[in-house]
Each structure stands twice: as C-alpha cells, then as structure tokens.
C-alpha cells in the first residue's frame, strides 16, 4: 500500500517529454534542429528552458533575438502557470511529445507577462506561496519564517531538490490540532472554454458538522458545470497532475498531497477525450 509520502515524491518528480521547435519565421543563420527535453510538471517554463534558449540562439544572430516566449498550437504559453497545469489544460489529450514552438520576436504584450529574469519567477512563486498561506493560516506560518526559509523554498524548486523544499514546506502543511484542516483551501480551477482565466473562491475544507468536504463538494459549489448531471454522460475530466482523482477524495488531503510547490491546487477541467 503506497504511503501518503510517496505521493509527494511522485508529484514532485513528474515529467513531460517535450519537443521544442523554432518558429519558422524566425531568422536563422543555420539550421535549427528541434530540441528535446523532459520538463518538470511542478516548475515554470522560463525557469527550466535555459538550454532551449541557448540551443536556438546559436543558430541566430544576436540582433534577431529578443525576449523568448513559447506557444502551443497558436496559444501563447503563460510562463507564470506551472508546466503541468499548462500541459493538462491544453495538451493532455494529444500524443506525446508535447510540441512547443519557440519565438524570439513579436512578444504578445496583451497575452503574456514579461519575464525579465529568474528573479521575476522567484517573485511570482513567492507571491503565490504567500497568497496560499493567507488562505490556509491567515499568513501566520509564512510570516513567522525567516528570509532564509523563504530562500530555501525557492532554491529547492529551482534546483529540483525535494528534501530541501519539503524541509520547510511541511510547516505550511500543518494546522492546529483542534482544527481538522486549513482555514480555507488554496485552489484555482481552469477551463479553456471560459473567458475568465480561472475560478478562485473561499472554500473551507471542513463543514460545520465536522465532515470533510470532498473534491466533488468543491466542484458542486464553485463550478457545477464541470460535473455531469446525475444520470447524464460524463462530459469532462477533472484533472490534477495528469490524473483524475476520485470526486470523493477529501479536499484537505488533496491540498496536503497534490498541491503544486506554490501550495495551490491547480485543477483543470478538460473535455472528455472521445477515443
């Protein structure tokens, strides 16, 4: 029987085989071969693609290279979303490898945030963590940590160091013994069919009577269209880290074990594949 702790490792070490191809209109001095890479599901595009950038820049002139950005089937990829979320939401029903197109010009200002440096990724990551703790613990746990603890969380993610990261992150997964869970669950639900980028609301993990709320309870409350009607056909997949957890799973357990390193549950609602 798998230990709950093993789930944490499986989530952390999830990878997506990806093929990066240079956009055909980029000006090259020599042929740029596609570049293959296993992307960590829990990380961010601009954090793990240095090698991709170097590879394609070798085939281009310095003056033709501007800020790098990525696109999948015409959709600019938001670097500030975790890689696993982007894949589940946009490409989970397609065959592997994930085919991503690399651009070095015409940055889509209206769609993408700029990512001037790794510091921007760190700032964004820490901002998400802070927000998650505001929901879980009224920011008490994260504010009590020292700067070096915050640094350790970031370095753990950046250097793919599970133990380094969880040595500190475990504190963010604790709750007072008299409670049965966090104050509110940090979650975001994404669907490509809506204009709104995601749904985020206040939702408690425990009901007034002490019963643990489930994933199904959450969806019924904040995104009922995601669920199939009682006797109807299943239209959507509710996906986290590439899997469909049972709707009866307690939300508190999901938050402790299937959150991304930013401590959010990033949930994708995608159409049920028809094969």
């Amino acid at each position: 029987m798998t230990d709950d702790k093993d789930v944490l490792r499986d989530v952390w070490f999830g990878r997506i085989p990806t093929c990066f191809t240079l956009y055909q209109d980029e000006i090259t001095e020599r042929e740029a071969e596609p570049y293959y890479l296993l992307l960590p599901r829990v990380s961010y595009l601009t954090l793990v693609t240095d090698k991709v950038k170097k590879h394609f820049q070798k085939a281009m002139r310095q003056e033709d290279v501007s800020e790098i950005w990525f696109e999948y089937e015409g959709t600019p990829l938001k670097w500030h979303y975790p890689i696993g979320l982007l894949f589940d939401l946009l490409a989970s029903s397609s065959a592997l490898p994930w085919n991503i197109t690399v651009h070095f010009k015409s940055f889509p200002e209206k769609d993408l945030l700029h990512c001037p440096s790794k510091d921007a990724v760190e700032a964004h990551f820490m901002s998400c963590m802070k927000e998650a703790d505001a929901l879980k613990h009224k920011s008490q746990v994260i504010n009590e940590m020292q700067k070096k603890d915050h640094k350790q969380l970031w370095m753990g993610l950046q250097n793919d160091r599970f133990d380094q990261f969880w040595a500190i992150n475990r504190k963010l997964m604790e709750y007072p013994p008299e409670e049965n869970g966090f104050r509110y669950i940090p979650f975001r639900i994404y669907q490509t069919t809506t204009e709104r980028p995601f749904i985020q609301k206040l939702f408690r993990p425990v009901a007034a009577d002490g019963q643990l709320h489930t994933l199904g309870d959450l969806l019924r409350e904040v995104c009922p269209s995601a669920l199939a009607p009682e006797d109807g056909e299943k239209k959507n997949q509710v996906m986290i880290h590439g899997i469909e957890p049972m709707l009866e799973t307690p939300l508190q357990w999901l938050s402790e074990h299937l959150s991304y390193p930013d401590n959010f549950l990033h949930i994708s609602i995608v159409p049920q594949p028809t094969d």
Partner: protein, 215 residues
C-alpha cells in the same frame, strides 16, 4: 462564508456607493460584472498627457484629467499649453484603473495598465518613471509593496498591480480613527484615496463629503 471584516458583499456595497457619487460628478467610474460569475469590478479610463520629454508627475493635479475628456478637451489642452511644443498622439497615454476584490487577502486591489493611443503598452519602467519621488522610497522598501506585472484574474491579461498584503494594516488605522471621531467611512473611498495617487489616480474631494452626508 463572510465572517471577515471586509467581505465581498461589503466590497460590492461600497463600490456601488462610490459609483453613485462618481455618476453625480461625471467622474467616469463604472461597474463591470464578470461573465460566468456573480462577481465584478469597478473601472475607469483616464487620459494623461506626457509633457515634452519628461513624464508629468502623476501626483500633481495640474497634469491629471479627473474625468474622461472629450476629443475637444484633448485638443484644447494641446493648443492651450505652452510647455508642449509638438504634441503628437504618441504622447497621450490611456490609463485604465480596475478595482477588484481579493478573497485571499479580503481587501480591494488596484490593477492598472497604460498604453499610447496607437495601442503600444507602457512598460514597467515607463510606469515607474511616472511615480512621484515621495512614493518611490516607500515602494522600494519591500518587495511586497511594489508595483508588479500580474495577470488580471477576470480578464486574464497583463496588468500592473500594487501588492495588497499591507492593505489591512493601513486600513485598520484609518477605520479605527474614523470610529473614534464618529464618522462614517466608505472603505473604498478611503482606500483609493491612499493608493490611487501613487499611480496617477486622484479623487475629487467631493467623495469624502458624499460619505459623511449619507448618514
């Protein structure tokens, strides 16, 4: 769900009161409801003119149009000014200000973006140039008090944001004080009058009078 001191319902109530007054004085604020949801946000568009080569100090009332100008207004401003020699369309900047509610921090948050009339967006460094010196020091003190680029949670597009996590601190002081002197306060009016000027958004004094007249 609302045991909090400033819940979403309060937010919507204060915004509605604020917009009532805005309509009375033609200040241009309006409410937009989000699709697919019952929530929404307050927004206003404002045009500002960059004087010559340096950005006008956005904190100074003289350089800020408090309400949406007509094309005539813009022409008059251009013709009447001695400072501007040849004002072209590229020197007029369109600012959009959005006031949203953060359920995570249970406070309002100010989102804004700026672009030239031809659609080119302003970069963070251009925005930064327009922030008055006296605000810059305060903003540079902590990463959590600074202006960053973030995704608008309802529109999904890049906007600039003043980080909300210190809002509770200064608003608690404002609200405690007003309780002491027995004065009603519109949370949104007070909050916006504090954070707005930092990024070029000023409120007419009549907003304050409107609140105390209501009771």
């Amino acid at each position: 769900m609302e045991d909090e001191f400033f819940g979403e319902k309060s937010f919507q109530h204060y915004c509605a009161e604020f917009i009532k007054h805005s309509q009375q004085i033609g200040d241009g604020w309006e409410w937009r409801t989000a699709k697919e949801c019952s929530d929404g946000y307050m927004c206003k568009t404002q045009f500002q003119i960059k004087n010559g080569t340096t950005a006008s100090h956005l904190g100074t009332p003289a350089s800020v149009h408090a309400c949406l100008p007509t094309e005539e207004d813009l022409e008059l401003a251009v013709d009447g000014s001695e400072v501007m020699e040849s004002t072209t369309a590229s020197e007029v900047i369109k600012y959009e200000y959005h006031v949203l509610y953060s359920c995570s921090y249970q406070v309002p948050v100010l989102y804004f973006r700026a672009s030239f009339l031809d659609g080119r967006p302003l970069a963070l460094k251009d925005i930064w140039e327009g922030v008055h010196e006296c605000y810059k020091t305060r903003l540079l003190q902590g990463p959590w008090d600074t202006i960053t680029q973030q995704e608008h949670p309802i529109l999904g597009q890049p906007f600039f944001v003043l980080h909300p996590c210190k809002t509770n601190e200064f608003m608690t002081a404002v609200l405690k004080n007003s309780q002491k002197i027995n004065r009603t306060v519109n949370y949104i009016t007070s909050w916006l009058s504090i954070v707005g000027p930092v990024v070029g958004l000023n409120l007419s004094l009549s907003y304050a009078k409107a609140t105390s007249q209501d009771e």
